[in-house]
Symmetry: C2
Subunit: 333 residues, 2 copies
DNA sequence: ATGAAAGCGCTAACAA
DNA sequence: TTGTTAGCGCTTTCAT
C-alpha cells in the first residue's frame, strides 16, 4: 500500500542538499542559511512533500500522539471533557488516539498496552474512579499519565478534579436549608469505592452536621439510565424522601419526569439536584439544579499538565482542584 | 524518553533464534516449528516483550490505525456514530485517531494531511455534508476513505447513509395527514448545499404532492442551539405555522419548550418532529417524535466497509443506504 | 524451518 | 552552516 511517495531523500536530491539539511528545515532548526532554507522550502512545496510521522516517531522516539481512555464514547459528560483536551492538544500539535473501555473492565490492561505500544507520548485517563488494573499498568511505566475528572484514592498520580465531596455536601445542605427533611442519594453502584468512600461519606457528613441521622436505606443504586431514574422515583416516594441528589443527568431526568407524571410538585414537595450539568438538565422541565463542574476546563488543564510532564517541565502542583458552582434551576427553591 | 526497553533483538538473543523467527512468532506465521515457537513465546512472556507498533508501522507500511474526522466532539449525534465505529474498529484491532474540525473549516486540509502523515490505514469522515476541501484532499490520495452519515453530492466516495430526503418527506407528509395546514422546516443554514439541494427539496416535494404551494418563508434558519430554537418559535407562531420539522434535537427542544411556555398545545395545535432521535427527544415533555436513524449501525457499517477497502476486498456496494423509521412520541398525533 | 541482511523514512550525533 | 553516518525496532525477501 504505497501511501507515501515523496521522501526526505527526494527533497534532498532535488534541492541539492543533504537529508540532514532538509530535516533541519522541516523541524525549524535555526542552523540553516536563509537561501538554503528557501531553496529547500521551494522544493518541499513543489514536490508537495509531507514528512512521514511514523518514521519520524521511530527515529525521534516521540509520536506527538497522546492516548485518551474513556469509559463511554456516547456520554455528554466525557465528551465535554474530551473537548477541552482536544482544544489544547490541537494547540500543542498532538493527535489523540481515543479508546473506550465500556465493554468490559478486562480490556483495560489490553487498551493501555496497546496505547503504549503505539508509543504515545502520554495518556489521559477519564472515568469516575481509577481502577486497580489501570493504576498498576500506569505505575509500571514511565509514560506520563494524568487523570481527568477521576478520583484516585491514593493521590499518587497527577490529576485534575473538583472537590466532589464538597460538592455533594453542599447540595445536601441546600436541601436542608430549603426545609427538606429527608434527603436521599442516587448513585450508580453503591459498592464501588468512589461511592462508598467519597459520595456516601459526603452525604453522611452533611446529615451529621445538620444533626440528622444517616440511614443506609437512603442510598439508592441505579445503573439503568433514564428508565432506571424513572423507576426509582416510586421507591423514593414510598420511603418519604423529599429531596434527592442524583449523580447522573439522565437518571435525574427520569426522576423529574416520574415526579411530574405522579403530580408531585417540584420544587415545593420534592427537590432534585444532579451532578453533571449537561444540556439535559437545562432542557428538561422543570430544569434541574446541577453541580456545575468546569468540564471543559478539567479537560484543558489536564492536557496542559500532560504537555508539561511530557516536556519534563517542573510541575507546581500535580493534583489540581478546580472550583465548582451550583447552578440553580427550577428543581430547587 | 526511553519508553521501550525490550526489543525483538533481546527476545531473539534470549531465545537463541534470529529476529526473523521472533517476528514470525509474533505475527502468527505458520512456518515455525512448534518447539521453536514455544521457546520464543516463553521468552516473550518472561521478558514482557511488547512489539513497538511504530517500528512495525514503518517496516510494514501499515499502522493499524484509522482516522476519524468529526465536526464536534460534544454532540450526541456524532458520538453515537463513533460508538458504532469504535466497536467494529476494536474487533478488527484498529486504533482510532479522532480529530474535530469544529473551530474552523480552514483546518480541514491540515487535519487530513496530519492524519495521512501519521500513515493511517483509512479515514472515516462524518459531517452533514462533504466539504469541497475534504473532497479534494481525499481524491488526491489512495488512502481509503468512507463517509458516515454524510451526504456526498457527487456520490463518488464510498458512503453509508439513510435516505435523508425520504425521511424529511415522510415527516412533512405525516403533518399533512394529521390535518396540519402549514408545515415549516427549521434548518441550520439554508444556504449550505445539503439543505438547499436535499432538505428543502424534500420539503418542497412533500408540499407539491399534497397540492400545496411552497413558500420560501417557511424555511427557517437557525444556528444557535437550544436558545435559538426557543426564539424561533415566536416567529413560527406569528406566521401561522402549525407543524415543524427541525433538523437538530436541541433546537427542537427549544421549540417545544417555547410552545409549552406560550401555552400552545402539542400536538393538538402544533406538531414537532426532529431529525436526530438522541436521548433529548425522549426525555423532554412532550417527548419529540423523531426520525430514527440507525446511528450506531451507520458507524459500524462504515467501519466494516473501511476494513474491506483497506484489505482490498471486493465491494458489493460502495454506497450503502440503511433504513430509517419514524419514532412516534408525544409531539405528533 | 530458520537466518542474514536490506531496508522503511527519519533524526541526531559527530565531523568537517 | 552543512554533510556523513548510524541507528530507531521491525518486516520481508532471499538464501540455506
Amino acid at each position: 500500500m504505497e501511501k507515501q511517495e515523496i521522501t526526505i531523500y527526494d527533497v534532498a536530491r532535488e534541492a541539492q542538499v543533504s537529508m540532514a539539511t532538509v530535516s533541519r528545515v522541516v523541524n525549524g532548526n535555526k542552523n540553516v542559511r536563509d537561501d538554503t532554507r528557501n531553496k529547500v522550502l521551494e522544493v518541499i512545496k513543489r514536490l508537495n512533500y509531507q514528512p512521514n510521522a511514523v518514521a519520524r516517531g521511530l527515529a525521534s522516539k516521540k509520536s506527538t500522539t497522546i492516548g485518551l481512555i474513556v469509559p463511554e464514547l456516547n456520554n455528554l459528560y466525557f465528551s465535554e471533557l474530551s473537548k477541552g483536551i482536544d482544544d489544547i492538544a490541537t494547540m500543542y500539535k498532538y493527535n489523540i488516539i481515543i479508546t473506550s473501555v465500556d465493554t468490559s473492565v478486562n480490556r483495560e490492561e489490553e487498551v493501555i498496552q496497546g496505547l503504549l505500544s503505539k508509543q504515545v507520548d502520554g495518556v489521559i485517563y477519564m472515568a469516575n474512579e481509577l481502577s486497580e488494573i489501570a493504576r498498576k499498568a500506569f505505575e509500571r511505566n514511565r509514560t506520563p499519565f494524568v487523570l481527568a475528572g477521576t478520583v484516585d484514592h491514593d493521590k499518587t498520580l497527577p490529576s485534575v478534579n473538583i472537590d466532589y465531596q464538597a460538592a455533594i455536601k453542599q447540595g445536601i445542605t441546600s436541601f436542608l436549608a430549603d426545609g427538606k427533611k429527608h434527603p436521599a442519594l442516587v448513585l450508580g453502584r453503591a459498592d464501588v469505592e468512589i461511592n462508598a468512600a467519597h459520595r456516601i461519606k459526603a452525604f453522611k457528613d452533611a446529615l451529621t452536621d445538620a444533626g440528622l441521622a444517616f440511614n443506609d436505606s437512603d442510598i439508592y443504586e441505579n445503573n439503568f439510565g433514564y428508565e432506571g431514574g424513572y423507576q426509582v422515583f416510586e421507591k423514593l416516594q414510598a420511603n418519604g424522601v423529599d429531596s434527592v441528589l442524583v449523580t447522573r443527568d439522565v437518571v435525574a431526568a427520569g426522576v423529574v419526569n416520574a415526579a411530574f407524571d405522579a403530580n408531585v410538585k417540584i420544587p415545593e414537595d420534592f427537590e432534585v439536584i444532579s451532578a453533571s450539568n449537561t444540556i439535559i438538565s437545562k432542557i428538561i422541565r422543570p430544569s434541574i439544579t446541577s453541580i456545575k463542574q468546569p468540564l471543559y476546563d478539567i479537560g484543558a488543564v489536564s492536557m496542559r499538565l500532560l504537555t508539561k510532564m511530557i516536556n519534563r517541565e517542573e510541575l507546581d502542583e500535580a493534583h489540581i482542584v478546580l472550583p465548582f458552582t451550583i447552578e440553580n434551576r427550577q428543581s430547587t427553591k
